[in-house]
Amino acid sequence: MAGNSSSLIRRLDWLLIAVSLLLIAVGWMNIYSAINVEDRSVFDISQRYGMHLLWIGISVVIDALILFAIPEKFWSAVSWWGYILMIALLLAVLVIGVEIKGSKSWISLGAINIQPAEFSKITTSLALSLVMSKYGFSFKNFKDAALAFATMITPILLILLERETGLALVYVAFLFVFFREGMSGWWLLLGAMAILLFVITLAYSPFIALLTALGTIWALIVIESKESNLWLLAVAAGIAVLSFLPKLLAVEFVSRYIHLSAFEILAIIVAAVSVFLIVRLLIRNPRAKLMRNALLSLICFIGLIYSVEFIFEKVLQDHQRARIEVLLGIKEDPSGVGYNVHQSMVAIGSGGLTGKGYMNGTQTRFNFVPEQETDFIFCTIGEEWGFLGALFILASYFFIIARIIYSAEKNRNNFTRIYGYCVAMCLAVHVVINLSMTIGLMPVIGIPLPFLSYGGSSLLAFSILLFIFIRLDAER
């Protein structure tokens, strides 16, 4: 317990508080710019900027309560109760929720709507912190690992049922926390590889995906195996030359009998060599864990590559499929699904180095960009403040995230450290997905930009998330 409030004030991370409040202020300015075309009072709560101002006020009051009125022990004490309450709320939403824009994730409280899914990030973070900070917790212990995963997956499933795919996706953030707390990094690599192969299969062909998978596994073997790597390199170079040989020599008879492209030949040769290597190493040392894993992942990858079409056509919803197609350039659709991204890129791109000036953005102010005050708020920044403004925002986020990680690592309290990672990863995943979406690096995934986007639930959830950490961190 803190001795007195004045020492607490000294112990608070005021820089973090200042930067986050700055982002909130910048957010409000840009929401105002994006919406306010007529001149109306900033306090007009019939307008979204007026409403947002109200939410900012509420957030600041709650943040102050968190910092000064609620003891830090409170959070670990109530984390399970909070978690259970939130699960109940998410379930309740499925029954009594209001449907807005196709997702049944809102609870209507008269004039305002609340989205519990936004707040469940906080309770899940607290619950996971409690689970993983338990003495002797280890991912090698099946029970511990199962509890952690279950804690993470339960809200994901409920949020998916509410058809808030984007918000559910954000829970990937907790996987990184698991990694920090001892989960094998291979799982992350495996996941990343799976996404990569999915994309390659869609954008190019299963052959190239197969090539990538084999090449990666091969590279891992080369890196991890104790054998001399020289001959492997020689084989690789040989294969590369060989596969293009028919083309280089323009040998007619080869292409007459073998109707394969250079890439396909390359794929086949790489596959053959990989299988040979794996089998050889397995025969020499059947218990080599690396080899076993490599073989298993290879089989998984091949399975994935050949089920991509099924997943894409049958599992994904139409709009999700369309978004991915547009992102990968499989389909051009500048007036349909591609419209958002295209207009968003046009808005940001037209900002240039220094932007068009505050309240002067032609694209965002005149509604070219849909959802410009919520998910696409970054367009207003990119257009009106230019590259420098965008860079400033990016730097602010990086500062917040890096500082949380830094403080978390310094903190001896496991609960605080894990919670800090949860906060940092949630923020990072939100920021990366949102920004990538607005600049056409990722498919459109409807999640807000922390602190900046319009929306009371999101603003409140992120500031509570962050300020709990600031309060916890004050007790080193």
Partner: protein
């Protein structure tokens, strides 16, 4: 705990790398790629074109042949239309509900083509309806009223001469700089010839618009707007009243009627009949196929495009050449016994006293006389061969402006044809022909072809006693002085002194007993004229007449070419002389009223064989 520190670094490094990727992407789209900025401008700035008023076309007396009127149209942007009160809309424009329903079915059918664009809902509504609609327009989202300037033709005269203005097509845009789709341009006649002066300069107003294409505000308070500059008024030499009168005379006849002021070369009237009615010019697209399919070819500007043998009026030229060459004098007498006969060759002529001199030959239009004359020219011992003589003759004829485009400002002028030695070498073989082979040239038949404008120019040349100004429609101004070719006297190769004989012959044709053109007499003015009857193997002969008046200081020279009109004196002479009388006296004298009535009532169309 070493491994944990390593992990912390991994986290921060990975996040830094991902943020760096985002920053690079931002740099790329914000700094490197310019197309986003351009797209943004196209997105947000709406350039509303301000169409300039086209210049007026003004006649020699300051009357507007063409000016502008405001046309009110109703446009509709189908994609913006929401439910509206159909009956109220029908009330405003006095429409049937059916019409509206049909329109919208059409828009639905063409929705891909229309897209976000606008289409005409109603054209040419009254200004009252326009004003009423503007008041009510907020009830009808997606509908808008537009005002544009369209051509107005105060006189029903000069359809072909003026030409039409229509929207430019892709082909036109490719070949002419400075046009965009939606622009209008003069396509024929004066509108085409002086397009660059008449069109003016487009302006634009820049608006900011939103994603729904709705105008939000005037961009930068209009400081980057450009005002449209109205086209210049064009002063022409045409006498629109005379043009209208001439068109009335030419009604139901096929042919041309051209009048030139000899002292300047200014074209007073240029009539091709049948022509385009000015009421059709306004909406040429609607009438286009009708005009093109009309067997009488109203789009065809006969005055400059119908090159045909001129008949006897050409005798004047041969007479002048012979005088200049010294092969005859004005007193040279030739016989005529109902024609010119050499061996089996016979060129017929009508009954008249014989022998006769040059003036009489012109007066009575004796074929025989000019056959002798041409033989004298071509068999001139001065030249080694008939070939050389014909080449000389060719040069003489060319000096009258024949055989090539005169260079007027009337679009699509044709040059006609003067046969050369080469022409006959091809036809008969070298040395395979002699003067008798080409004898029909003497009377303006055979391979010689001239347009009615050429004939009017010939008449002006004779009226000027030996020179002409290139015929033109434009009048000079301080800003645009006349081109040099319109202010230069083009002398023929014939001495001016020889012309008086020819002029006397033309006077006698009108005033001496036995003259062919007594029908052309105008009270109070001395008229000189020459009839022609162009042989037509396909039907009735063409009636040709050229005349000028007064004899001294001529004010007007006219050529009339009436297809299938028979003798020159039958239709061409009355028409040409009536036009002249109207111009010189302002009205037709009572004793010639019957002639006027006869011409106005005549319908020669059934004589015309159409292809």
């Amino acid at each position: 705990m070493a491994v944990y520190f390593r992990k912390k670094s991994i986290f921060i490094i990975v996040i830094a790398v991902v943020f760096l990727v985002i920053a690079i992407r931002l740099f790329s789209i914000q700094i490197i790629h310019k197309e986003y900025r351009i797209t943004a401008e196209n997105n947000a700035l709406k350039y509303e074109t301000q169409f300039p008023a086209r210049g007026r076309i003004i006649d020699r007396n300051g009357l507007s042949m063409v000016d502008n009127k405001m046309v009110y149209d109703i446009m509709v942007t189908p994609i913006e239309v929401t439910a509206f009160d159909t009956l109220a809309l029908c009330d405003i424009f006095e429409l049937d509900k059916e019409y509206v329903v049909n329109c919208f079915e059409g828009y639905k059918r063409d929705r891909r083509k229309i897209g976000y664009g606008s289409v005409y809902f109603l054209k040419h509504i009254s200004s009252e309806q326009y004003n009423y609609f503007v008041e009510q327009s907020f009830h009808f989202p997606g509908f808008s009223a537009s005002i544009r300037s369209a051509r107005r033709y105060p006189y029903n005269a000069g359809g072909n001469l003026i030409g039409y203005v229509s929207e430019v097509d892709q082909n036109y845009i490719r070949n002419n700089e400075g046009y965009k789709s939606g622009d209008y341009a003069g396509k024929t006649g004066i509108e085409q010839a002086y397009e660059s002066r008449l069109r003016g300069e487009k302006g634009y107003t820049i608006y900011l618009r939103d994603a729904h294409n709705q105008i939000k505000e005037h961009y930068e308070d209009g400081q980057y707007d450009k005002e449209a500059v109205a086209g210049e008024d064009l002063n022409t030499s045409i006498d629109v009243i005379l043009q209208a009168y001439g068109e009335a005379l030419m009604k139901n006849k096929v042919g041309s009627l051209v009048a030139i002021e000899p002292s300047t070369g200014e074209v007073l009237t240029l009539i091709s009949s049948p022509g385009i009615d000015v009421s059709q010019l306004d909406e040429i697209n609607k009438h286009y196929s009708e005009l093109v399919n009309n067997p009488l070819r109203p789009m065809f500007n006969r005055t400059v495009q119908s090159a045909q043998p001129p008949g006897s009026v050409f005798k004047l030229v041969n007479g002048l050449i012979a005088l200049q060459e010294g092969v005859i004098t004005e007193n040279t007498m030739y016989p005529c016994h109902n024609g010119f006969t050499v061996g089996s060759l016979h060129v017929g002529c009508h009954s008249h006293p014989s022998p006769l001199n040059l003036k009489q030959g012109i007066m009575m239009s004796c074929n025989s006389y000019f056959c002798y004359t041409l033989r004298a020219i071509l068999d001139n011992p001065k030249y080694e061969s008939v070939e050389e003589a014909l080449t000389k003759w060719h040069d003489y004829v060319a000096s009258f402006g024949f055989g090539s485009k005169l260079g007027s400002d009337i679009p699509y002028e044709l040059g006609g044809n003067i046969p050369s030695a080469e022409t006959y070498n091809k036809m008969y073989g070298k040395k395979g022909w002699r003067s008798l082979s080409v004898i029909s040239l003497s009377i303006g038949q055979g391979e010689f072809q001239a347009t009615p404008l050429h004939l009017a120019n010939l008449c002006a040349t004779v009226a000027n006693r030996g020179y002409y100004y290139t015929p033109h429609i434009i009048r000079g101004s301080e800003e645009h002085p006349l081109a040099e070719e319109y202010t230069t006297r083009h002398y023929t190769m014939v001495d001016t002194s020889y012309f008086s004989t020819i002029v006397d012959g033309m006077e006698m044709a009108v005033y001496s007993p036995g003259g062919t053109a007594s029908v052309a007499r105008i009270p109070g003015v001395v008229v000189c004229g020459k009839t022609g009857t162009a042989q037509n193997p396909h039907g009735d002969d063409h009636s040709v007449f050229i005349c000028f008046a007064p004899k001294d200081n001529p004010k007007i020279a006219v050529a009339a070419y009436i297809e299938n009109g028979g003798f020159g004196a039958t239709w061409a002479a009355p028409i040409a002389s009536l036009l002249m009388e109207k111009y010189l006296n302002g009205e037709i004298s009572p004793e010639r009223k019957w002639q006027e009535q006869r011409v106005l009532d005549a319908n020669l169309l059934d004589k015309v064989k159409t292809r």
